[in-house]
């Protein structure tokens, strides 16, 4: 019985994967055609069992295109809510690669993105919430939008700790929120140095779907970094870590080099809350351990606290 369900889920996931690819385009011609999905329909099942099973699409090092999240997009039950998502396998382009993400206001609605970055073993290593994508008033040819840039941590090509997967979704809380825009008459007044009219600003309600622009800005490849660091690190490491990750767990450094972002901590805490709710203590412990490995050091204490309260 269980097997049957799994197979059904898998085929659904496969179907959704296709839908996801269909929903991504590098053209802007279709702007404004598809209606935004206000909420994730309750009958839409989660596409996958784990983050590792999401339908990741490879992203080229010079990708610059639109992502449409709508009712054809896959759904996943993230730790902080069910959401349509887009998942990408990032180019392993080396250091200095930057991701630019813009979510556009369309017809008074907006998809407020969260971003999750996973390493080569699908461990969430960094999480970004609304604070990373602040509001930008419409200017020149760009409409009202939320915009943020993320510099990827990719120490050198092939390193298993590199950030290799990117997931764009919207948390439950985000989907219920709204964003205050700048009234265009005020933007005019600001540009002209006039007193802006004292009128309320328009509000964009948040939506479960939306139109986003994603751009990968490849850094000057790692050759620069190599040139700088080669005298210090020598030639040795590259072949060792270039081997398939799953077969060389020892190659993964167990100690994080720097502390995780508060958003990443929050993501793990939400995950632990869910595990505890489901009485899955084993999962909660594993999450705490994983969090420690990616530098989210407070998460273990959080779990201990939760357990003490019980």
């Amino acid at each position: 019985m269980n097997k049957l369900i799994n197979i059904a889920t898998l085929s659904l996931a496969a179907a959704l994967t296709t839908g996801c690819i269909g929903g991504m385009s590098t053209t802007t011609g279709a702007a404004g055609k598809a209606p935004l999905a206000a909420t994730v329909p309750a009958d839409r099942a989660s596409c996958c069992d784990s983050l590792a099973a999401l339908p990741y699409q490879p992203l080229s090092a010079d990708f610059n295109g639109e992502i449409l999240l709508d009712e054809h997009s896959p759904v996943y039950a993230f730790e902080d809510g069910r959401s349509f998502f887009a998942a990408f396998q990032l180019p392993d382009a080396g250091s200095n690669t930057r991701i630019e993400l813009r979510s556009l206001v369309e017809k008074g609605a907006l998809f407020q993105p969260s971003v999750l970055l996973l390493d080569s073993r699908f461990r969430p290593v960094r999480a970004f919430d609304s604070a990373a994508f602040p509001y930008q008033p419409a200017q020149m040819l760009t409409p009202d939008s939320l915009y943020g840039e993320i510099s990827l941590r990719q120490s050198y090509a092939g390193h298993p700790d590199n950030e290799r997967y990117l997931i764009i979704y919207s948390s439950r809380e985000q989907q219920q929120g709204e964003t205050q825009l700048l009234h265009p008459a005020k933007a005019y007044a600001k540009a002209k140095g006039n007193e802006p009219p004292n009128v309320p600003d328009p509000i964009a309600r948040h939506s479960a779907g939306g139109r986003l622009q994603l751009k990968v800005v490849a850094g000057r490849t790692q050759s620069l970094g190599e040139t700088l660091l080669k005298p210090l690190i020598g030639d040795a490491p590259a072949p060792a870590v270039a081997a398939p990750v799953a077969n060389t767990p020892a190659a993964l450094s167990e100690e994080p080099t720097e502390p995780a972002l508060p958003e990443t901590e929050a993501y793990y805490r939400a995950a632990i809350d869910r595990a505890l709710q489901a009485n899955d203590l084993d999962r909660a412990l594993r999450l705490a351990e994983e969090a420690r490995r990616v530098g989210a050091t407070q998460v273990r204490d959080y779990l201990l606290q939760k357990l003490q309260v019980k």
């Binding site: 040819l141 540009a191 006039n194 009219p197 009128v199």
Partner: protein
Amino acid sequence: MSQNKNKISAAPKVLAAMVAAMISMPAAAVDFHGYLRSGIGATSDGGDQSCFQAAGAGAKYRLGNECETYAEIALGKELYNENGRTFYVDSMIAYVSDQANDWEATRGEGPFNNGTSSIRQFNVQAKNVIDGLPGATLWAGKRYYKRHDVHINDFYYWDVSGPGAGIEDIETGVGKLSLAWTRNTSTGDLTETDVASDVLDIRLGDIKVNQDGALELGFDYGSAGLTEAQELAGDSDEDGYLFTVEHTQGNWFGGFNKLALQYATDGMIGGGHNNATGSGDMFRLVDQGVVQLSDSIEMMYVGIYEDQDMDNNSGRKWTSFGVRPVFKWNDVMSTAVELGYDDVDPQNGGEDSQLTKLTLAQQWSAGTSFWARPQIRAFVTYAIWDGPVWLTGDVDAGEDDGLTFGIQAEAWW
């Protein structure tokens, strides 16, 4: 290998810190604001584009009725931000020319060197630096100070801008109080020398009076500070008052409405600068707004009545109405019609001036809002008048109507 790692650990940290510092700089980048209008036009009978304004009117309806190139380049930067205290430096240079030639130098001899540039803003705004006045901003320098305009006829009815200093946005519990001292210079009527004229500006704004409605009250006192020589020669030193009451209504048919009532005496007759020579009084009403008539039609409208009653009979009554509905075909194309009417009735019994201007423009802009810019517009303008008219360009002064066409770009950012 781990040895190596330890050895290099300091270097990448320093590098990382340096890179982080460099990357964080664009976040606090320079704010670039500005404005431009420029284009090309012609008169149907041949020759350069003409622009039409009723003689004595305070403004003209601007769509398809602007004959010059005008631009403003503003650069600003927040230089300091600690514990909510901020220092902001702002600057703006303006440039205007006749739009007649490629080379229009701002100085020099020759027929086309008509360009003029102007230092319009250079100021520092310091917020939260006075402990007793949280939220208030102390400022000094040349500044566009809380200017109030009507967009479709470019009429600035309340504008005390100039070199100045002040404290703005002091929270009073009722509204926000702003105090400013600004300067303009008029010419002595006898000595024809510069007269330093000052304006003390006090406003109480953001007074919430109804749902989505706010009131602003303004009091301006203008005075002319004569030198001993000017006083001896007998130059006029009229001072004056300007009172302004303005109500702004948001959520007004999908847009907003602004109603301003003004009363001024003597030197302060006008828009906010003291002229030192005027003697009399003025009443003015300006009602303007932008409304959403349907999903695809937005319209700006304005009505102005101004009565200047001068002791030497140099005043006039000016009545003005204008509408600019814009129909949006899609995200980038719209059609605008602007109809404007001005009537000037001189106090000295001189001839009335009446001018009607109608413009049809096909517009391409980024976005659908009435305010969406940049915009490129192809226009045809017809103006018909009775009585004296202010003309530029190649329509003969003896005519009583004119037809022009052209293409103009307008942008603000």
